[in-house]
């Protein structure tokens, strides 16, 4: 019998000297992945969060997906184009089958779209899909999507992880998809097990022999599980642990800046119904302190509309439109008739440290220009409800755009959309909303760039939200884990799809 670390433990003889070199290693080709939250459910069209999205991206497929650079690539559709009438035409790939062996046909695509757009649907993309006038089946491999208005960004709808194509004869609670993995086992709230689908349409994929997702809700324990070798990979490396993961010779960190923190306003009543007061708030906060305090330096100040640097829509001047300038903030307050400041309340949540820490920093900087705010930090569930009902004055929030096209910012900037806790409440920003709508209907790239720069100018004046800080979002993994890419910007939450290409090297 060989003496291993485990037998020593079982015998009650723990020798630290041995254990430093020994380490649990996955030799089975099955990736053990630490999830940050338990997927509430795996409904293919209902939004139930990014952790659920990670699993859904692996067991289901849609017409398109994001590649490692964050560009759209064909999946169930091999090509797509806009025809003379302004409709989007998708050509389906040959040889794609669902997990039950049935071929993926134009009928399944049409059925899935119709289900999402149905009156009684609870699909995340219901609003967008209701803009579709009809779905035509030209032949078994060609689907024509006709919209009421021209929509330049329609293909990206199908890259969202709540927009999968499902076999049209699936039972209500057993959706059958066509992804590279099959769900073979799960324990509610604890773990999920995936096995490769042998008839997946891409030769040689997936590369892993399986994936076991284990839920670690506590961030420190999730990180401890990575460090101790219990798992091969984790999502959401806590900011305070990123240094340790980078320094560990056995591990590597892949992080991008995508999600961001922002300030939301209740625009239905004074003082925040006045855009000058909102602009005063925007100029009052020193962002560096938020990056330091809430994110341990793992982030970047955000002094404008949250447009990712390095994209065509980014403008260096506009990106500093709300620079830290307390004198200007005070002048704006005086102009609005609040020379002596005022009392208000600030809603956030104590359930997530980054929300609470950000709120505390903002509170101090607002006090410096005369705005005294009382912090309200209930649990997350209460914060969501109060936000949705508009029972607040200022709210501190963390959010991500839908994708890296500026159209993906609609969900956070367009305050003409129905009220929700993650957008400002009943705030008038008509020029921003109009520019977003123009950009969505424009197909010419040069014109779109112009439109979205105009949108940023409008938003800087109308202040539908105040950007505070980009935050880093990191995956930590064993050095032997290869082929995974953390997708850029807002797409980081969709990186789970990359596990299809991941392998042990």
């Amino acid at each position: 019998m060989t003496i291993t670390r485990r037998t020593l433990i079982q015998a009650g003889v723990a020798l630290p000297i041995l254990s430093v070199t020994a380490r649990a290693q996955s030799t089975t080709g099955i990736l053990r992945f630490g999830l940050s939250a338990s997927p509430p459910n795996l409904q293919p069209w209902v939004s139930t969060g990014a952790s659920a999205g990670t699993v859904k991206l692996l067991i289901h497929r849609s017409l398109v997906a994001y590649d490692s650079k964050g560009e759209l690539r064909g999946e169930l559709a091999e090509s797509w184009s806009i025809d003379g009438d302004g409709a989007w035409v998708f050509k389906l790939r040959q040889g794609a089958v669902f997990h039950n062996g049935e071929p993926v046909t134009a009928d399944d695509v049409k059925w899935s779209i119709d289900q999402m757009a149905a009156e009684t649907s609870t699909a995340y993309m219901k609003g967008q899909f209701q803009a579709i006038a009809r779905v035509e089946i030209a032949d078994p491999r060609t689907v024509r999507v006709v919209t009421r208005e021209p929509v330049a960004t329609l293909p990206s709808w199908f890259a969202n992880y709540n927009t999968f194509i499902i076999w049209r004869k699936s039972q209500a609670n057993e959706p059958i998809g066509a992804g590279p993995f099959r769900l073979v086992g799960q324990e509610r709230g604890t773990s999920l097990e995936l096995a490769p689908f042998d008839k997946f349409y891409k030769q040689g994929y997936p590369k892993l022999k399986g994936i076991k997702f284990i839920v670690y809700a506590d961030e420190n324990l999730r990180n401890a599980a990575l460090m101790s070798g219990d798992v091969d990979m984790i999502e959401y490396v806590p900011w305070q642990s990123m240094d340790a993961v980078e320094k560990d010779p056995r591990l590597k960190l892949d992080s991008v800046e995508g999600p961001f923190m922002d300030i939301l306003f209740n625009g239905s009543k004074p003082p925040f119904s006045d855009p000058r007061v909102r602009r005063a708030v925007a100029h009052a906060v020193k962002r560096d302190d938020i990056v330091k305090v809430a994110f341990f330096g793992r982030g970047k100040p955000l002094e404008g509309v949250p447009v990712v640097e390095g994209t065509p829509w980014y403008d260096k001047e506009l990106a500093r439109g709300w620079n830290y300038d307390p004198a200007r903030a005070k002048a704006l307050l005086s102009e609005a008739g609040y020379a002596n400041g005022f009392q208000t309340t600030m809603l956030s949540t104590a359930q997530f440290g980054m929300h609470k820490d950000t709120a505390e920093v903002v509170q101090q900087y607002l006090a410096a220009i005369g705005i005294q705010s009382e912090l309200k930090l209930p649990d997350w569930s209460t914060r969501v409800t109060l936000g949705g009902r508009g029972q607040y004055d200022i709210a501190i929030h963390g959010v991500s755009a839908d994708n890296n096209d500026p159209d993906g910012l609609t969900v956070v900037l367009d305050t003409s959309l129905p009220t929700t806790y993650s957008r400002s409440f009943q705030l008038a920003a008509p020029r921003t909303a109009a520019a977003l709508a123009r950009g969505r209907g424009e197909f010419d790239q040069a014109k779109r760039v112009q439109i979205y720069k105009d949108m940023q100018r409008a938003a800087l004046e109308e202040v539908p939200l105040v950007g505070l800080a980009w935050r880093s979002q990191g995956y930590g993994m064993d050095r032997r884990v290869k082929g995974f890419t953390n997708l850029p910007g807002a797409l980081t939450n969709s990186s789970g799809g990359m596990l299809e290409e991941t392998y042990f090297g």
């Binding site: 485990r6 433990i9 079982q10 723990a14 630290p16 254990s19 430093v20 020994a22 380490r23 649990a24 939250a37 338990s38 509430p40 459910n41 209902v46 939004s47 139930t48 990014a50 952790s51 659920a52 009684t120 649907s121 609870t122 699909a123 995340y124 219901k126 609003g127 324990e187 509610r188 709230g189 604890t190 284990i214 670690y216 809700a217 506590d218 420190n220 324990l221 401890a224 599980a225 460090m227 101790s228 219990d230 999600p259 359930q351 997350w380 569930s381 209460t382 969501v384 409800t385 949705g388 959010v399 991500s400 969900v411 959309l417 009220t419 929700t420 806790y421 993650s422 957008r423 939450n493």
Partner: protein, 317 residues
């Protein structure tokens, strides 16, 4: 006796119903809408029309009294309902996870007894000795350190730094017994720490008390061997209060498991309870709380019966 027992059982059932009702009402009265929360998972912005659609589907639009009546009717038929989040039967969740929580409590109690009683007895017999001083100080320290602090330190030291144990998790005993007990060790120790300290103090005090009693002096005077005096007279009399404390502490242990299960990722009953509270998953929260309450009442009932058997004066009262 029978009449007394029936009365006690009736009171327990009534208490369980009161607890279930309070939890049901309290949950519905605090802000937070399960439909909105489910659709807002991960910071998504749910459209109010979709939220309304889901509320309709989950039956949340019905008047509260109607929902309450449906819940009570279900409980009387032995049906605790289904999760609002994924339609999973509440009773299946409890059936799967309650044994694990009980296992943790049992393992913790055994460790606490194994450490507390011999340690307390020895410290009592050698009052003021080196062992007594060190052990008493340790017990005081253990009582003062919060369970999650100890748990986090254990993970940091044994899993993250020394890599001796997994950081947490669970393996079914049928799958790999050795790993099952390896994973059980840390959370059981964390849960045992407070109880061990209490049992240690109680045993020590009881032994000191027993040693000064007349019957012990008499026994010694009769020339019985010190060992026999200790076992037959001192310990037997000293253990009765210890058992009482153990019964009383069961409730505290149930509460302590919430933190311990979280820190060590032990998939007992606490994780789904916490998650269900966060998601305002009414049926799941009420089902789990009801189960824990019934368990608690059952333990108390058993303790009462034991006392009644031991002491007729209880029944008369």
């Amino acid at each position: 006796m029978t009449q007394w027992l029936l009365r006690r059982v009736a009171v327990s059932v009534a208490l369980a119903w009161v607890v279930a009702t309070i939890v049901f009402l309290a949950l519905h009265l605090v802000p937070g809408d399960p439909a909105e929360l489910l659709l807002a998972t991960g910071g998504a912005a749910p459209d109010p029309t979709i939220v309304a659609e889901l509320r309709q589907r989950l039956g949340l639009e019905r008047p509260l009294i109607e929902q309450y009546a449906a819940f009570l009717g279900g409980v009387l038929e032995g049906d605790l309902g289904k999760s609002l989040v994924d339609d999973y039967p509440v009773s299946s969740e409890i059936a799967l996870r309650l044994p694990r929580t009980l296992e943790l409590i049992l393992a913790g109690s055994l460790i606490a007894i194994a450490l507390g009683i011999p340690g307390g007895a020895y410290a009592g017999l050698r009052q003021g000795g080196t062992f007594d001083r060190i052990a008493s100080a340790t017990a005081g320290l253990l009582l003062a350190v919060p369970v999650f602090v100890l748990g986090t330190l254990l993970v940091l030291l044994l899993a993250q730094t020394l890599r001796l144990t997994p950081a947490g998790g669970y393996t079914p005993i049928a799958q790999n017994p050795a790993q099952h007990f390896t994973l059980l060790a840390l959370p059981a120790v964390a849960i045992a720490k407070g109880l061990a300290a209490i049992i240690f103090r109680m045993t020590r005090a009881s032994v000191l008390d027993a040693l000064s009693r007349d019957f012990v002096r008499t026994a010694r005077g009769k020339g019985l061997s010190p060992r026999r005096v200790l076992v037959r007279h001192v310990l037997r009399n000293a253990l009765t209060p210890v058992l009482t404390v153990l019964g009383l502490q069961m409730g505290t242990l149930l509460g302590g498991t919430v933190l311990v299960e979280y820190v060590f990722n032990w998939p007992g009953l606490s994780t789904p309870l916490l998650r269900a509270v966060e998601a305002r998953d009414y049926p799941m929260v009420v089902g789990i709380v009801l189960t824990i309450s019934v368990l608690f009442l059952l333990i108390n009932l058993i303790m009462d019966i034991l006392y009644a058997v031991l002491d007729p004066r209880v029944r008369a009262a």
